[in-house]
Amino acid sequence: MTTKALKVDNTASRFNKEDFKKRYNKHVIRKRSMAFLSTLFRYVLLITLGFVILKPVYDIVKQTITAQNALGMGNSVWIPNAVSRQSILEAWLILDYPSSLLYSLINAAVLAFLQTMCAAFAAYSFARLKFKGSGLLFGFVVFTIIVPPQSMMLAQYISLRNFDIFGIIEAITGSPANLIGSMWANYLLAATGVGVKGGLYVYLLRQSYRQLPVSIEEAAYVDGAGFLKTFFKIVLPGVSSTLLTVAVLSFVWNYSDTYYASLLSSTTRNLCLNLQFVQGNMRWAIMDIEDKMPLDYMISWDSPMIQNAVASACALLVILPLIIMYVFVQKRFVQGVERSGLGGE
């Protein structure tokens, strides 16, 4: 409003020196130049660092869409010389994309849900519903974060291979259950908070529970809500931003986890496991799907350039759902920020 009025004034008396001095005294100039410099600094920094992150992704996209006979040409460094769908078609067939994608996505979603719920319960217990020894147990949560999972590889494998609860299963079926080879072992670990980075989620959520004002929960309890009702209606919505963060992290890490997947439920239907395997055997992978490709493509597998391009296409297909999901979740993040800004507290 005021700037507009000033601008109109400016055009009317352009050469009024007094007016000019009044409007552009040294405080105004200093303030404006500082603001300009900080904006410039922010954009330069963010754009530079953003480039560092995006360059490998761009390289993969470029490799994928470049026609295979144009690979490695000097004049297609930034923009491919010729574009073709061949690499991505081959990758699609190599990964058996639709069915593998469904399998991986569903598993990751189930694991993420189980992990988030388990962590939300445990973290609330640690943050608010303390009992004798919960301080010590929380020390163990930190402990589970620090210990690399590889350490217990052998012992975990053996215990899930011969899974039993105090001999009950053996008494019923005659032998301990073998959970290796199906997703049940992974689900079990996730639901009990041992899965991929399980301890971290408890830690994160506990910190954000503790930042909620305790008086709200007490008020809910005084007004007649039980502990569970207070938890689901008051506490969980209060930490929804952290809850979303945890769910997203859990989903992404379970989707791209190869350690537990290869140890407990190894299958080529798991996209990331298959990607790892295929990248080591690109030549044979391309040879394998030669018959399935449409006839109008020239298939070759000897050149490392082409192997690399198809490997890039595979990687792109694997990370594509994550990126798409991420774009949507990103909107929720921004919304969350704006809502809390409006509410003000």
Binding site: R42, L45, L49, G50, V52, I53, L54, P56, V57, F121, A122, S125, L129, L137, I145, I146, V147, P148, Q150, S151, M152, M153, L154, A155, Q156, S159, L189, T192, V194, L200, V202, Y203, L204, Q207, R210, Q211, P213, F227, L228, F231, S241, L249, V252, S256, D257, C272, G280, N281, P304, N308, A311, S312, I319, L322, I323, Q330, F333, V334, G336, S340
Partner: protein, 315 residues
Amino acid sequence: MSKNKTNNTASSQAAMPAKKKRGYAALSYTKKKGLWGFILLCPWLIGFLGFFLIPLVQTFYYALFDMRLANNGFSFDFVGIENFRYILTVDPDYNQELIAALQDMALNVPIQIFVALFLAIMLNAKFPGRGFFRTIFFIPIILSTGILTIEVTGLETFNLAAEETEGVMSAAFFTETLSNSGIPSELLSMIQSFVSSIFEVITTAGVQILIFLSGLQGISPSLYEVAKLEGCTQFECFCKITLPMISPMILVCLVYSLSDTFAKAEISELIDTTMFTSAQYGRGAAMSAVYFAMSVGITLLLTLIVSKVVFYYDN
């Protein structure tokens, strides 16, 4: 205190029906709280005991044995601390890897936390294109899992050669220019190592940025409004509001960064190969035991120190 409360509820109940409360209803508030705390913790507790603590203890137990694959399972020969003596005094690689892991930690963790906090504050401010930049800076969370490191067997040598010529040329060019301009060589090598690690730092700082951002979002804007009305400068706002309010997240980031660097250290590979490739299960178990003792000790020590200065809004 708790007795008092039970009396109160009992007397208020006595007015309505002439029945005494029993079981759950008779418990005091604190006791109910504790009970629900235990119930909610149960899933985690089962997992912790069954799939974490017992396997971990077994690992330490294995470290005392010379384990070999036998017809049905493993054969155990008790060797006492021989495995520990071997890895610490005879094994040529283990000590070096241990020190390398420590160096990595000392160098990377502070830089990671600083860069993450800095970027989170930048991304939290309001400016055009903020959503776009946030989307970009979280991509490393996906990247850091290693999907994008493409390793095609035939191409490795080819890529390596190309990278080397390119890398040496550019590095040599910059080093020459800078050393000609009179900068001391120690400082120069420090700058060089920092610049070359930018990519690594940024790609591993994704989670920390997320943690800090969620923390920053939790700070009530009214605090800043009050501070501005009272005449605080931007810098004072940062020191007196942002830092204390974000300090719990600094603790989280510290623990996360430490565990991340420790888990990714090359020593894990050494343990892996010792255990599963060379089938020296006992020795591998001893290696992991020593490594854990070190990493857990350092992390707990640092957590203790930092938690002294952490500020909680409610306490």
